[in-house]
């Protein structure tokens, strides 16, 4: 494996990812901070912060009477099959208003392990890292995605397996599980000059009644991207291009199936369901079967025209199926 490129060590830095402001600070006893190169485009000078994460060396114990509410096994995909490599990849414990997330870092050669003490109410979080060495990236995989996930939960936002593109004032989100064509579609749109927001994972935020989709830093060279969201398409490969508009409840269940969610109690699940329901009441959702070539772009652009026609003359948000 190629050695990850990293910044020079620092004692603090600010990230802006999906419009969340995250301040990362080394505690007095903490290691130097050395974010990976993939975060370069997300480091900002913003002084406002949604959360602050203070990074310490070492480990602390979860309170004895804490309740374990989530256990995530470590799954890898081999030739389309999910393989459980080891148990307890990461776990979440709850103790009163505090949550404790314990995780391994599968990409860490030093056996790094961490515990994040956080809250869905208070913005000051603490992170203890074992085997961090003199300097470390405190948001190595999977912690970066988990921190972002809990930020979406706090803000009633949505994290989803999807690619997203922006073309001619329209933002399209293509959602599906692995192998359904997210990356393929992003590539086809990229070839015609569309802005690809991301090809695998997006965060959807409702900003003052306007839905936007955001990327998150995954690879070296990633820069923050976002675009308005105008249409959600639940995708699969097909022999011809075809859409089926989904009524609201089917739209909700189709979107939910592709969301990333680590909810651990009915109240959180209800709030998440509310967020997806609101999204699906505002943004049209369709199933899309597509041929993996340029024809899908012409097809969707033609669909957009017919949608506008229908809205103008019939007053319906959804247009007739083709």
């Amino acid at each position: 494996m190629a050695k990850a490129v990293r910044f020079k060590p620092v004692r603090s830095y600010n990230l802006n990812i999906a419009d969340y402001n995250i301040r990362v600070i080394a505690a007095e006893d903490g290691p130097d901070l050395q974010p990976s190169e993939r975060f370069r485009g997300s480091i900002t000078n913003h002084v406002t912060q949604d959360i602050a994460i203070k990074v310490h060396h070492g480990a602390v114990n979860v309170p004895e009477d804490a309740e374990r509410v989530l256990v995530a096994p470590y799954l890898v995909e081999v030739k389309g099959y999910k393989v459980n490599r080891k148990d307890n990849f990461w776990s979440v414990y709850r103790h009163n208003a505090d949550l404790y997330l314990i995780t391994n870092f599968p990409d860490s050669p030093s056996g790094k392990r961490a515990m994040l003490k956080f809250s869905l109410i208070f913005p000051e979080w603490d992170l203890w890292i074992e085997n961090a060495g003199a300097s470390t990236d405190p948001l190595d995989y999977p912690l970066d995605g988990l921190v972002l996930y809990y930020l979406t939960a706090i803000n009633s936002d949505i994290m989803i397996h999807a690619s997203g593109v922006y073309y001619d004032t329209q933002g399209y989100l293509f959602s599906g599980t692995s192998g359904k064509g997210k990356t393929t579609l992003a590539g086809i749109w990229d070839n015609v000059g569309a802005q690809v927001i991301h090809d695998d994972r997006l965060i959807i935020r409702n900003r003052g009644g306007i839905y936007r989709m955001f990327n998150t830093p995954v690879n070296k060279g990633d820069v923050p991207r976002s675009a308005p969201l105008n249409k959600i398409l639940i995708i699969e490969h097909g022999v011809e291009n075809c859409t089926l508009n989904l009524r609201e409840s089917s739209a909700i269940t189709s979107v939910i199936a592709n969301c990333i969610q680590h909810n651990y109690d009915p109240e959180m699940i209800a709030r998440f369901l509310g967020s997806v329901s609101l999204l699906c009441s505002k943004i049209p959702v369709s199933r899309l079967s597509f041929k993996p070539d340029r024809s899908i772009i012409d097809y969707l652009l033609k669909n957009e025209f017919q949608q506008s026609y229908s809205e103008a003359f019939e007053g319906h948000r959804f247009y007739a199926s083709f």
């Binding site: 609201e248 409840s249 089917s250 909700i252 199936a257 699940i269 209800a270 369901l273 009441s281």
Partner: protein
Amino acid sequence: MADLNTIVSRSKSIVGRKTGSEYVLIPVSNNIADMESVFTINETGAFIWEQMDGKKSIEELTNLLMEEYEVDYQTALADITGFVETMRDYLVIETA
């Protein structure tokens, strides 16, 4: 099979939300949402779901359905028992 006096209630392991005239139901198991088993129920199912307060019997639900949709007793009873048995199999509702 449930009899007419059977009391029907929604499972506490379900998170539901009304959307238009339908419901989306998410099962919760060990505090975790099972997103691969999400249900939607149509307008009639939604009416039955809303009436299932843990106090009404199958007979009472049948009478309410008759009034709401102006159907005969046998049709309403068949709808109610069909719904209850299916939903009970999926652990969405409980009977006592």
